[in-house]
């Protein structure tokens, strides 16, 4: 598949990640939240580590070998992981697509 055809915009990646979060934590919780690019996983979205695992797997399943998401996460220390927000992931995916 031509990567240029499948390249997603910032907004499209954001929408996709929002959908993944909804799949993982359930619509009833997402409805109560205002998910924004600056939302952090643990503080704002209150996702626990096993939910972030599921979220990571969705990203890996969607983008395949195009991105090494687990490898990217493993380069972060615990504080960085706790403060990780959607914007950082979107920018990382954008970088991998370019």
């Amino acid at each position: 598949m031509d990567a240029a055809v499948t390249r997603l915009t910032y907004q499209e990646i954001f929408d996709l990640l929002k959908q993944f979060i909804t799949d993982v934590i359930g619509e009833e919780f997402v409805e109560e939240m205002d998910i924004e690019p600056q939302s952090s996983f643990t503080k704002d979205l209150e996702m626990d580590s096993i939910e972030i695992v599921s979220f990571s797997e969705k990203i890996k399943a969607h983008f395949g070998k195009e991105i090494d998401f687990t490898g990217w996460l493993s380069g972060m220390d615990l504080d960085q992981l706790i403060n990780l927000n959607l914007d950082q992931i979107i920018r990382y995916i954008e970088e991998c697509q370019s």
Binding site: I25, F29, T42, K43, E46, M47, D48, S49, I50, I52, V53, S54, S56, E57, T70, G71, L73, S74, M76, L78, D79, L81, I82
Partner: protein, 253 residues
């Protein structure tokens, strides 16, 4: 392959580097899940090994099961998983209660185990370890979470706390976990431990209240190595990189 059917039950499994020549299976501790390895420890080990992580029954995203929390049943679950994965031989590492499961599995399946790593496994007869099992309350969870936050700086939100509370309540009041663990009091005095013939690494925190258990196992298991790293019982969260490096060195030399 997130959910596998093992002996008719749903088991949440994650793997890294599926092309790895040798496989390492990682077992998490009680009231935890595979995420204790997923973010920092498994990726380091996956530079060399195929790494398989799974959620114990009623933990993480695996299915709920009312019975079978004694070490032999937990080992049978692990054996069922490695059979489904078609693993003839494998390295095995476990943390805390998962360390006991790994050790018990090594006693049962010695010929299939390449090397064994036991991290922070407590003596099941130890009162401090048993205290958690004997008594559970909402206050206990809140204290447990506070202590966990103090020593690891990981905070739990309200929804996370509720999720954990539901899991703990299920495990404590609707499963046989307490009864089953009480039956394991004699595990450390089993004579088979002294005859275990596998390269074994024991890793404990230098300020852990389980360190004496590590020293005891070191004296018991012939040729075992005891490594102490800076930290307490929450070692995999406090020092994941150090721990992963120590495991990698042991497993590759």
């Amino acid at each position: 392959m997130p959910i596998l059917n093992v002996n008719g039950r749903e088991v949440h499994v994650q793997e890294l580097n599926p092309e790895g020549k040798e496989t390492l299976v990682l077992v998490h501790g009680m009231f935890s899940n595979l995420s204790v390895y997923y973010f920092h420890i498994a990726p380091v080990l996956a530079t060399t090994f195929r790494v398989v992580m799974y959620d114990l029954k009623s933990h993480g995203l695996s299915g709920r099961v009312a019975e079978g929390y004694d070490l032999n049943s937990m080992s049978e679950d692990l054996e069922g998983l490695v059979d489904v994965l078609g693993l003839d031989t494998f390295h095995l590492a476990g943390y805390s209660f998962g360390g006991l499961i790994a050790l018990n599995t090594a006693l049962r399946l010695e010929a299939r185990i390449r090397k064994l790593v036991v991290i922070e496994a407590p003596d099941p007869a130890d009162e401090k370890a048993r205290g958690i099992i004997d008594e559970y309350s909402r206050e206990f969870l809140e204290n447990y979470v506070k202590n966990y936050t103090d020593t690891t700086h990981v905070r739990m939100g309200k929804r996370q706390l509720e999720r954990n509370h539901r899991m703990y309540e299920y495990l404590f009041y609707q499963t046989s976990i307490r009864r089953d663990m009480q039956r394991e009091n004699d595990f450390f005095i089993r004579p088979e431990l002294r005859a275990l013939d596998r390269k074994t690494l024991l890793v404990y925190g230098d300020t852990s209240n389980c360190l004496d258990s590590g020293r005891y196992l070191h004296a018991c298991i012939p040729g075992s190595e005891l490594a102490t790293l800076s930290g307490d019982h929450n070692l995999p969260v406090q020092e994941p990189e150090l721990l992963a490096d120590r495991l990698l060195t042991f497993l590759t030399t």
